[in-house]
């Protein structure tokens, strides 16, 4: 059981680190948003699943899974909200400097 928890936590931390590298290296706002939203959601879910497996059956692991469910619902919502705010305010894309997206 501990080995399974270590595997889940390590893969989750790998995705978190990959998301951080993506937000550092990508050229414009929307690709950065792509890396941040997907990698953060998957990495946090895998890490919390591993921690819940390590904790065992009980109230604490149920609360950890509740936080994971909350992040699964709210992280794509937050990504969508901030991307729509950028799209409505003509944040330019890389390679297309003078583009007016909406309005």
């Amino acid at each position: 059981m501990t080995v399974l928890a270590v595997v889940f936590v390590c893969s989750g931390v790998f995705f978190l680190l990959l998301g951080a590298v993506g937000i550092l290296r990508f050229p414009d706002f929307y690709t950065r948003m792509h890396a941040a939203g997907k990698c953060d959601t998957l990495g946090v879910l895998l890490t919390f699943l591993g921690l819940a497996i390590y904790e065992g059956f009980g109230l604490a692991s149920a609360k950890i899974l509740l936080i994971a469910l909350f992040l699964l619902l709210t992280s794509p919502t937050a990504t969508h909200a901030i991307a729509r705010a950028a799209l409505n305010n003509t944040v330019t894309r890389a390679g297309r400097p003078e583009e007016t997206v909406r309005r």
């Binding site: 937000i23 946090v44 604490a60 709210t74 705010a85």
Partner: protein, 94 residues
Amino acid sequence: MQVFFLATSLVILLAVLLALYRVIKGPAIIDRIVGLNVIGTKTITIILLTGFLFERIEFFIDIAFVYALINFIGLLTFSKYFERKGANDWRTGK
């Protein structure tokens, strides 16, 4: 197992530093806010790992839940504000 949790926390701290570079250096203010959201999500994981490190997980879970709520509501408030105000650079005003 404590060494594993400490090493995991340090690797996530490295990811936080990579995102902090984007917060400091990001060209528009909306890039900084995305970096802050990423840092907040990693902070929730670090809080839970700290709970496992000190073997007081039943206290640290509630702190992590409140931090997740504050992170989500803060980002929604920022995006609502920038939909009306404009999301460009605060230094150049473009």
